[in-house]
């Protein structure tokens, strides 16, 4: 679903991290764990086709590399943490309907609103919503696109525990149905609960580690990669 080859990302000549190579397939939920300011959001932008901070390398979504190609865009949706996906002066339902129409998806909006727990405020303008409600609506809009690959920037930060559970289940369901999710988060326990892989960067070197019952947890990986006593043993 996402194929990343020798990807270097940065705003100047200096890349934020060493070249990233990865292949994330359907059914996978990849969590990016990194400190503040490391470049998680920038990396998600580039995975979503933004060309400006990309220095070299390529990103393919379902085999398509050109971010201007409708095939690329149809298969990916980037949901930012601040609700930027949504039109603030439209209602939540109108936003979902726009997402469905623009992507040409077959999403059942009423069912989606119920699944996402937003049916009680789907008629409200996005601008009038709380941060948490806006985040719920953004995630729902991401699902409404019908895109197989979802790029989520700190999706659960503003959510209450009930909604964290709810959306974790929805992400798992999305992957069970053939989708792929790449998300960034500081909530390492949440990453442990839903992710199949964790991407960390030790000394700028990217490492994608599969989460297995017998293997290290995201918390352990995080401290190994970024902690002062991280050591030098393999991740």
């Amino acid at each position: 679903m996402i194929s990343v080859i020798d990807l270097r990302v940065g705003y100047g000549a200096e890349p934020l991290f060493k070249p990233l190579n990865a292949q994330w397939n359907a059914g996978e939920i990849v969590g990016i764990a990194a400190p503040n300011g490391f470049g998680k959001t920038t990396l998600l932008h580039v995975l979503g086709g933004d060309s400006e901070p990309k220095l070299s390398g390529s990103v393919k979504i379902d085999g398509c590399e050109d971010p201007d190609d409708p095939k690329f865009r149809r298969n990916v949706a980037y949901v930012s943490g601040g609700g930027a996906l949504l039109t603030p002066n439209a209602s939540v339902h109108e936003n979902l309907a726009m997402a469905k129409e623009l992507w040409g998806s077959t999403a059942d909006l009423e069912a989606l609103e119920q699944d996402c727990g937003i049916e009680s405020f789907s008629g409200k303008r996005v601008a009038d919503l709380s941060q948490g409600m806006r985040q719920q609506a953004s995630l729902a809009a991401g699902f409404a696109t019908g895109a197989s690959t979802l790029l989520l920037d700190e999706p659960t930060n503003a959510l209450d525990p009930n909604n964290v559970e709810r959306f974790s289940a929805l992400l798992r369901r999305h992957c069970d149905q053939g989708g792929c999710v790449v998300l960034s988060s500081h909530l390492l326990d949440n990453l442990a609960a839903i992710c199949t892989q964790i991407l960390v960067f030790r000394d700028g070197m990217p490492a994608c580690v599969a989460l297995e019952a017998s293997g290290p947890t995201p918390k352990e990986l995080y401290w190994k990669a970024y902690g002062e006593k991280g050591g030098t043993e393999p991740l």
């Binding site: 979503g48 086709g49 933004d50 060309s51 400006e52 050109d66 971010p67 201007d68 190609d69 409708p70 095939k71 690329f72 865009r73 149809r74 990916v76 949706a77 980037y78 930012s80 930027a84 996906l85 949504l86 039109t87 603030p88 002066n89 439209a90 936003n95 726009m98 997402a99 129409e101 623009l102 992507w103 040409g104 809009a141 696109t145």
Partner: protein, 375 residues
């Protein structure tokens, strides 16, 4: 692409600012109709009457002078004075006939060498209009906007509409669409080629701006139609275009005004859309858009104040912001709106079409050369 255009138009129409703007514009368009200004027809007849005594004096002085053809000139001046005397209180048909008599006398006077100065173009048009109207079975003169049938009113205000209305319409439409165009938004990420998104935005801006203007016209047009009827499309007008008299009818003037204004709107939309989208696209800084919009609105004002040499002004798009110059307007209200200077409709459409297309094509090419999915 049609989905996106529909969606953009739909969102634009729902924006409160856009709705308020349409209501305000409707009020601006209706203002000449509802305001109770003195009729320019009274002013015009008054101007003839003021000259009554001086015309008779001139006739008496000419009789006593030894200039060639003095008797004929004096007779013509006396006839003009008689015509003026009968104008007070005459109905439309008689008034046109008396004015035509005065004009014919005036032409004969000019032929006899009795002319004060070069006759200005507007005077030529007025004279010719009166003669053309006098040939009609039932000529009518409209002294004020509330007297005019709907089409004449539409034609007149359309032809003399301030260019600011066209600019502001596009800016308001752009502001109404702005919430949809943010970075990381649905439109930015939508699965459409970048050039299609830009073209859709252009089409939506054009539709919203033109729609706002046409909808704003509706109340006053319907009111005028109910009060005075629609008016005869074949009713004649004489306009002076590029210093040449051109006999037209309401129907052709109306279509000419409409096309001229549509071309103007295309240009303004292309200018604003090109700048706004280009700046958003390349710089990603929203404050630059405001600067660009202000510049675009300031430039024609600068041209108006500073002035440009005629040869340059002919090729400046802002010259054509006053479409009455080449589209013409009805001239029944004191003949004040005639514009003897300026350029032709053909030059205007060439300039507007060329610059509008160039801007649009350059924006689309830039989008193609630097593919990003950002709007």
């Amino acid at each position: 692409m049609s989905k996106l255009i529909g969606l953009l138009c739909n969102r634009g129409l729902r924006h409160p600012l856009f709705c308020i703007y349409v209501v305000l514009l409707a009020a601006v368009v209706a203002w000449p109709y509802v305001s109770s200004a003195p009729t320019s027809l009274d002013v015009m007849v008054g101007n003839y009457l003021i000259n009554l005594e001086s015309t008779r004096d001139t006739a008496r002085n000419i009789t006593r002078s030894e200039i060639p053809n003095s008797a004929e000139i004096a007779a013509l001046l006396e006839d003009q004075a008689d015509a003026i005397e009968q104008m007070d209180g005459a109905d439309d048909g008689d008034l046109v006939s008396l004015m035509a008599r005065w004009e014919e006398d005036n032409r004969e006077l000019a032929a006899l060498g009795f002319a004060y100065d070069d006759i200005p173009a507007y005077r030529q048009a007025m004279s010719q209009t009166v003669l053309v109207l006098n040939e009609l079975e039932d000529p009518q003169l409209f002294g004020s906007c509330p007297e005019e049938p709907a089409l004449y009113y539409f034609c007149e205000v359309m032809g003399s509409m301030p260019w600011m209305c066209w600019c502001v319409s596009v800016v308001v439409a752009l502001v109404a669409l702005k919430p949809l165009l943010g970075r990381g938004g649905l439109i930015e990420q939508a699965p459409l080629r970048q050039w299609k998104k830009l073209l859709s935005l252009f089409a939506a801006l054009l539709s919203l701006s033109l729609g706002a203007i046409l909808v704003a016209w509706m109340p006053v047009t319907i009111a005028a139609a109910l009060r005075n009827g629609w008016g005869d499309l074949a009713y004649p007008i004489v306009n002076v275009v590029d210093t040449a008299e051109r006999e037209m009818v309401i129907g052709t003037t109306l279509s000419s005004c409409f096309l001229a204004n549509l071309a103007l709107l295309l240009l303004v939309t292309a200018l604003l859309c090109g700048c706004a989208v280009g700046l958003l696209y390349f710089l990603g800084d929203n404050s630059k858009i405001l600067i660009a919009l202000l510049l675009i609105i300031t430039l024609p004002l600068l041209q108006g104040f500073v002035g440009l040499p005629a040869a340059v002004a002919r090729w400046s798009p802002f010259t054509y912001f006053d479409t009455s110059i080449f589209a013409g307007v009805p001239t029944y209200q004191g003949f004040e709106l005639l514009r003897p200077d300026g350029a032709t409709w053909e030059t205007g459409s060439a300039v507007v079409g060329f610059l509008g297309s160039a801007l649009l094509v350059s924006t689309l090419t830039a989008a193609k050369l630097k593919p990003r999915y950002r709007l």
